[in-house]
Every structure is written in C-alpha cells, then in structure tokens.
C-alpha cells in the first residue's frame, strides 16, 4: 500500500489540500459528469453527492489525477485507513485532487461520515 505517489506528485497533491484548507476554494463551477467506472485518460473525477462517492469504485491507470468534487451542501473529506492520502475538509462546491502512481487497491472513507466508502483500483 505504500508508494502511492512520487515525491513530487505527493507534494502537488498536498498543495491542493492546503489551498482548500486555507479557504481559497477553487472557484469554477463543478461540471455535471456521468459516473464512470474506468478512466480512459490520466484525469478522473469522483462526484460526492447525497453522501456517496460516485463512482464508488474507480479503476484508473497509474499516474492518473483523481479529483473529488463535493456536490453536497455538507462538507466531506477523503482519507485512506493508513492515511496514505488524507484531505482537509472539502466543502460543498470544492474539490480535492490526488495523483495515483503505483498500482494497487486504495480503500478510503469520508472521516466526517464514516459510512461513506470508496475504492480506487490502479492497474
């Protein structure tokens, strides 16, 4: 489960997390996107809506940047059990991006609402 991101990529993702935490939220309106199971490109989106991750299981290629977009009014976050990745609060309308470089299966939850589960498969 280790080696999720290269050092550089991890730093980039952390920077996004810090930006969100400082309240400089990404201003653009979230685009409605159809849930997808397999990302064909090196960017993928997971929508957070009605207290669910959509898609709950996402399969991606190594190097894909995954962006969670919160479409609820309630804040959420994403955290893997071993804290390989952990976001700050993602408020409604905000986003968080992490890059997955190493193949593997990454379970995660929302630590504010622990009944929310998701999984990312990198292969």
């Amino acid at each position: 489960m280790t080696g999720l991101m290269t050092r550089q990529r991890l730093a980039a993702a952390a920077a996004v997390s810090i930006m969100l935490g400082a309240g400089t939220a990404i201003a653009e309106q979230p685009q409605p996107a159809a849930p997808q199971q397999v990302a064909a490109t090196n960017e993928a989106e997971i929508s957070i809506q009605s207290f669910q991750f959509v898609p709950a299981i996402l399969t991606i290629k190594p190097g894909t940047a995954v962006t969670w977009v919160n479409r609820d009014e309630e804040p959420h976050n994403v955290v893997s059990p071993d804290r390989v990745f952990r976001s700050k609060a993602i408020d409604g309308g905000e986003k968080f991006t992490a890059v997955f470089d190493k193949p593997g299966t990454y379970n995660y939850i929302c630590a504010v609402h622990p009944h929310m589960h998701g999984k990312i498969i990198v292969e």
Binding site: S17, G21, F51, E73, E74, P81, A89, I109, P114
Partner: protein
C-alpha cells in the same frame, strides 16, 4: 482539572437521587427507581429554584456554515449566547458539546472565539467531528482547551457535581461511528473509582452514547464499557449534540440528552438519504435552534430545560 474534591463532605445522602428533564414539550419527568412519572411544571421549577447550581449547554454552532439551511450561523450563535446572558438565573459555567466550527478552519475557530467573548462564564469544550477534520483537532485544542494535549479528555468538580468531558469523534476512520478508545476508557474507570455513588455525574461528549441510528454514525461503539463504570452512580446525565435535535432516553439512573444546534436542524433518524443540514422555512428556523439550561438541585434533581431561539 481532575481534582478530587469530596462531594459535600459531612452530608449523608440517602435513597435515590431524582433526575428530572423537561423536553421542551411541556413534559417533566422525574425518575425514581428507574420508573419515570410525570410532574407538574410548577413543581419542577419550584424544585430548581433557590439554591441549585445551574449551568448551560450549547452545541453545534458550525461557524463557517453559510448555505441555505442557515446563511447566518454567526447571527444565530450570537442570539444563543444572548439567551444565556439574559437568563434570570445566571449559569455558573457553560459547556460546548462540539462542532464549534464547520470545516475545522483556523479562521472559523477565530470567529467562534470572538463571538464567544459575549459569555463571561468559563466555557468547557469537547470537539465534534467537524472540529477535527484533517488535523485530528490540533487547531481546536490549541484554542479551546490549550491545557490538554490534542484529542485530550478531562474531568472537574463544580457545584457538587462531577463533570466528565470525553472525546468520541477521533475514531471515525476505524470504528465507523463515535468511539472513545481503550486509553480514554481506562482513564474514565480510574477517574470514577472511589467516588461516592451519590455524586451526581454529568458526562458531556459530542456523539450520542446510545445507538440512535448507527447507519448514520449516530452512536458510540464502545459506550457500553463507559456505562459499565457509570452504572453504580445514582444520577448520571449524559449531554451531547451531533444530531441537532432533542432526543432523550432514560435507562436506569442514566439520562441521555441530545441538544439542539445553534446553526441548523437535521432530519429525524432515517428520514431521507442522509443526515445533514435540513432546510426549514426561514421564519421557523429559530424555533428549532436553541440552548439548554441544566439545574442541579442538591439532594433532589437534575432538571434539563431546552430553550429555543424563537
């Protein structure tokens, strides 16, 4: 903190302590031997008058929240504190049972601290899950309970009551619900050991300690162990927030009381797909927000009164 003052030395307490609660619906309950019976309001207020010790609980201020369910959480929080300063009988202290902030942001905590300056009494805090997002509560504890290590718990004695402040929002990642963890439970056992069974106990924490609706995380996984240490006490009152509505339960000598928020209501357990801010008509909002006054009458009762902001 955690002082070991004996509870009213020289006083011999006989029989069961009574515990009363007014749910804001005009009902008053007194519990003797585990069997609740109705009481007239007049009798309740007569009992809570005079020499009793009074404190206030506030909860779920969610400073930083500004969406449709309440665009002005600063304003409603101020209104709640205003209620406290205008109470005919001034409380000895105030408890905040968590979710001070909405997103655990430093600026939200700073705004809350600024608004809380209206309260002249001591305020004791426990964090909610919204206060510990992404940093395990570092910012929260630095500001509101700086004497504690991050994530810490505590107890103190005031007005003949033993108060216990516990943290049940740092286990969400592993427990899928509220939880105290082994270290805190061990501390609780030691903290209560040797205390007289007649000492009234008030335990305050964020998430309800009984499984109101575990599917939404409305419960505390290891609460039964905590309760095993509390059972022998004649009067135990558990105060919490988290679900933004008044729900009560009495079990033996333990009275569970979840409080209203000062920010926005949440749906009844299981109503709708998920918990979260519930929109009510603007003119109704203040009737579902509020504070809670608790009167402890020596030898008699803990009377819980929920007061709305309407």
């Amino acid at each position: 903190m955690n002082t070991q003052n004996p509870d009213n030395p020289g006083t011999s307490r006989r029989g069961l302590l009574k515990c009363m609660a007014w749910a804001g619906t005009g009902m008053v309950w007194t519990v003797a031997g585990g069997i609740p019976r109705g009481l007239g309001l007049g009798e309740a207020f007569a009992a809570s008058a005079a020499d009793g010790f009074t404190f206030v609980q506030i909860s779920d201020s969610h400073i930083g929240f500004n969406k449709e369910a309440n665009p002005d959480t600063n304003g409603t929080f101020q209104a709640a504190l205003d209620r406290i300063t205008k109470l005919p009988k001034q409380p000895a202290m105030v408890l905040h049972t968590g979710d001070v902030s909405h997103l655990s942001k430093p600026e939200e905590f700073d705004t809350a601290a600024q608004i809380l300056k209206a309260v002249k009494q001591d305020i004791h805090y426990v964090p909610g899950e919204h206060d510990v997002i992404g940093d395990d509560g570092k910012e929260f504890f630095q500001r509101f309970e700086p004497k504690l290590k991050t994530g810490g718990w505590y107890s103190f004695d005031q007005g003949g009551v033993h108060f216990v402040g516990m943290v049940n929002v740092l286990t969400f990642e592993t427990a899928k619900a509220g939880g105290f963890g082994a270290e805190q439970l061990e501390w609780l056992e030691k903290d209560l050991k040797g205390r007289s069974a007649s000492t009234p106990i008030v335990l305050f924490t964020h998430v309800p300690m009984w499984p109101i609706y575990p599917q939404w995380g409305w419960g505390t996984e290891d609460a039964p162990q905590a309760l095993s240490y509390l059972k022998r006490f004649g009067s135990v009152t558990v105060l919490n927030g988290h679900i933004h509505q008044i729900v009560q339960k009495v079990e033996g000598n333990v009275s569970y009381q979840t409080a209203m928020s000062t920010a926005f209501p949440q749906p009844t357990a299981g109503q709708g797909p998920a918990p979260g801010p519930m929109k009510v008509p603007a003119e109704k909002l203040r009737s579902v927000l509020g504070i809670r006054e608790i009167d402890i009458v020596p030898m008699k009762a803990a009377a819980v009164t929920d007061v709305t902001l309407a």
